[in-house]
């Protein structure tokens, strides 16, 4: 009964506040160890939401809940409620394959498949049957590479292995690969931590552009990065969300003393 009421309220307020993903009381346990403690967060559409906090605070764990990547870990248990467009993604009726097509993911270390650049991007559309023929598939590949800002660099060597690109190019290839299945939300787990500053700047610029079409959630260790690319920020500490709000607000006028200590570099 309560959940029904909650759902109705959630739905109503979700529409009202225009929320893409709504997380309520999300807790995560690895076997007996609790990694996240009743986290609540609303993710706004077509905005970049940054999750910041010291190492081991649960921000990556939380990110992986958003497309159920934690399912692949046997001992991991998730409780609470995560709604994508007001649908519970942990509901048994939800197919995790479709969910991950809607909520794509880019990982910390670039992980292109050991295939050609073309095949890397075509991989997702192929398994989801998004293209009706070779021409359509090529169109999707080209569009995705263009959106990921990689097209100009690779258009003449689509047949070369994706692993032969530089680190920054590989990461943009992974972003193109995620875009190719036309997701609504893209999750990024420290996407620049393995890149040099120049490649980082390129990827950050790309994230800013992608905001026009996609909702982005990014985990980052770098507060400058959070300040540069995000509109919303959530500060995690020891498995809890300490503070959420607009990025400007959090960085200029933090309400919680722990947030202030972290962004001024006293803890972390």
């Amino acid at each position: 009964m309560d959940t029904l009421v909650d759902n109705i309220i959630a739905e109503a307020s979700g529409k009202e506040a225009n929320i893409k993903m709504r997380c309520r009381d999300v807790s995560v346990f690895y076997a007996e160890k609790q990694a996240l403690n009743e986290v609540n967060l609303d993710i706004k559409p077509k905005q970049v939401t940054a999750l910041i906090g010291p190492s081991g605070c649960g921000k990556s764990t939380f990110l992986r809940c958003l497309n159920r990547m934690n399912d692949t870990i046997d001992i991991c248990r998730v409780t609470g409620e995560i709604l994508l467009d007001n649908e519970d993604i942990y509901d048994p009726s939800i197919d995790v394959v479709d969910l991950r097509a809607d909520v794509g993911m880019v990982f910390q270390k670039p992980n292109p498949f050991p295939k050609s650049i073309y095949e890397n991007v075509a991989y997702g559309p192929r398994i989801h049957g998004l293209a009706r023929g070779k021409a359509e598939l090529t169109q999707i590949v080209e569009k995705s590479l263009k959106r990921a800002g990689l097209w100009e660099e690779v258009k003449d060597r689509l047949d070369e292995p994706g692993t032969g690109l530089s680190g920054g190019q590989q990461q943009r290839l992974c972003i193109a690969r995620a875009i190719a299945v036309s997701p609504e939300v893209i999750l990024m787990d420290e996407p620049c931590s393995a890149l040099d500053p120049i490649a980082t700047a390129v990827v950050e610029e790309l994230i800013d552009e992608l905001r026009q079409n996609y909702t982005i959630v990014i985990v980052t260790h770098s507060m400058q990065q959070a300040a540069r690319v995000s509109q919303e920020t959530a500060f995690f500490h020891l498995g809890n969300i300490v503070e959420t709000g607009s990025t400007d607000e959090i960085f200029t006028n933090p309400k919680d003393p722990r947030t202030e200590s972290y962004i001024t570099g006293r803890i972390g």
Binding site: R100, A101, V106, N111, F113, P114, Y123, I127, T163, C174
Partner: protein, 463 residues
């Protein structure tokens, strides 16, 4: 006794080890840090300085000593020996040696006893001379190393160098052994090809080496010989059985590897993998009688029930059982390479919404392909070289057929049958075994090279 001398040498070098170590401590005094090498290295250096020359000397000495004895027997008893044939001469020397060591010889006579006494005398003299030289050498070496223990002495580097030399010697031994085997194969094969034409052997369709010896004596050089040493049926049989075996082992092994690496729980994997590897530990002769007594009759009964003519020894029975035997080679190696594919690739695929089997088919297996191919090729070379199962279950008849229900034979089985029995060593029949062995060696070598190439070509696919 030669071995006693070595034992004494060992004990002496051990004592020298402790002496050198404590001298190093004494030299360093309170400033142990100023010693270039730790005392244990000074000890090891002294020990090795004694042991290495000592052992080399002793081996050489014993080599010379044996020569010395046979030389003095031949010169002392040249009249007796010259009246004997070559095998008798060898027998004479053998008996003398046995008597000299206090054993019992077959035919004892006066000359042998005198000779034996002389040998015993020479031996004890040799032991004394050799022993004294060894002792002197050890003491000199010990003194050499011991007096060199100072703060600056680089004992550690010397020990490292000696270890490196020892490692080189060991690998050279392995390489030389392989070369020796290959050359003996080549030389005997060349002799064989002197009697049977190479092309007839390689491309002949008829294999019945037994018929080369229907006469007695000189038939090995008869004109027909080339016609009975046609190796094609053997290689066809080998290929057929290997093919059947791989039809069993490749899918079963690969799929169980995929299950173990990607689907099974940790606990199940911990138990199942060693159990699967036990299959590799079953002696092949056990597989052989399993094939001959259980599988072959079963296939035969089943074939007859649907009206097929199945011989009681069939390629199918041998191939099936051989396939089961090599499952663990495929599964264990493939499991290792599949596991070595980084988790990040699996995550990347899952993050795009691929299911587990899509991820495995399209990402994991292509990435693990080089390793899987080399696992398969290893299994193939194992199947090609397997003998026991085929002897027992597939028979000896060299039929040129691709019907798996008939009896066939393989190269290895024929090598065994050629060498078992009372044949003169230099008959064409025996030499044929070397030629077969040589060809088989080149086939497995080629397989290994192909496997290596495949691995090298695809090695850098994922970092």
């Amino acid at each position: 006794m030669p071995s006693t001398a070595l034992f004494v040498l060992l004990v002496f070098s051990l004592i020298a080890f402790f002496a050198a170590r404590s001298k190093a401590f004494a030299v360093a005094g309170d400033h142990i840090g100023e010693l270039h090498s730790r005392p244990i290295y000074h000890g090891a250096y002294t020990t090795l300085t004694i042991l290495v020359p000592g052992i080399i000397f002793w081996l050489l000495w014993n080599f010379i000593a044996t020569r010395w004895i046979s030389a003095s027997i031949s010169s002392q008893f040249s009249e007796t020996l010259s009246s004997l044939t070559l095998p008798q001469q060898e027998g004479f020397i053998r008996d003398v040696m046995t008597l000299a060591s206090g054993g019992v010889a077959t035919f004892v006579d006066e000359t042998k006893i005198t000779a034996a006494q002389m040998v015993a005398e020479i031996r004890s003299r040799q032991l004394w001379i050799g022993g004294s030289i060894l002792a002197a050498l050890s003491v000199v070496c010990c003194w050499f190393a011991y007096t060199r223990i100072t703060l600056k002495m680089r004992a550690r580097h010397r020990v490292e160098q000696l270890i490196r030399i020892m490692l080189i010697v060991c690998s050279v031994v392995a390489i030389l052994t392989t070369l020796g085997i290959v050359f003996s194969l080549i030389f005997e094969s060349v002799r064989f090809f002197g009697r049977v034409s190479f092309l007839d052997f390689l491309f002949g369709l008829h294999w019945s080496p037994q018929s080369a010896f229907e006469g007695a004596g000189s038939e090995a050089i008869s004109a027909d010989n080339s016609k009975v040493f046609g190796a094609i049926p053997l290689f066809a049989g080998t290929l057929l059985i290997t093919f059947i075996a791989m039809c069993v082992a490749a899918p079963v092994g690969l799929m169980s590897a995929i299950y173990l690496s990607d689907y099974a729980s940790q606990g199940f994997r911990r138990i199942a993998k060693p159990v699967l590897e036990v299959l590799a530990g079953v002696p092949t002769v056990v597989y052989g009688f399993f094939a001959a007594l259980t599988v072959a009759p079963a296939i035969r009964g089943w074939g007859e029930s649907i009206g097929l003519d199945v011989s009681s020894e069939s390629a199918l029975a041998a191939g099936l059982v051989m396939g089961i035997m090599i499952i663990p080679f495929v599964s264990s190696l493939s499991d290792d390479v599949i596991n070595a594919v980084p988790q990040s690739l699996r995550d990347g695929s899952a993050g795009l919404g691929a299911t587990k089997s899509e991820t495995i088919r399209k990402v994991v297996l292509p990435a693990a392909l080089p390793g899987i191919v080399s696992a398969m090729l290893l299994a193939v070379s194992r199947a090609v070289g397997e003998t026991m199962i085929v002897v027992m279950a597939a028979g000896l008849a060299a039929n040129l057929t691709i019907n798996p229900l008939e009896a066939v034979t393989t190269v290895t089985v024929q090598i065994v049958t050629l060498l078992v029995g009372d044949q003169e060593f230099d008959s064409a029949k025996t030499l044929a075994a070397f030629a077969l062995g040589l060809i088989l060696f080149f086939i497995t070598l080629a397989l290994n090279i192909v496997a290596l190439r495949v691995v090298q070509k695809y090695r850098e696919q994922y970092d």
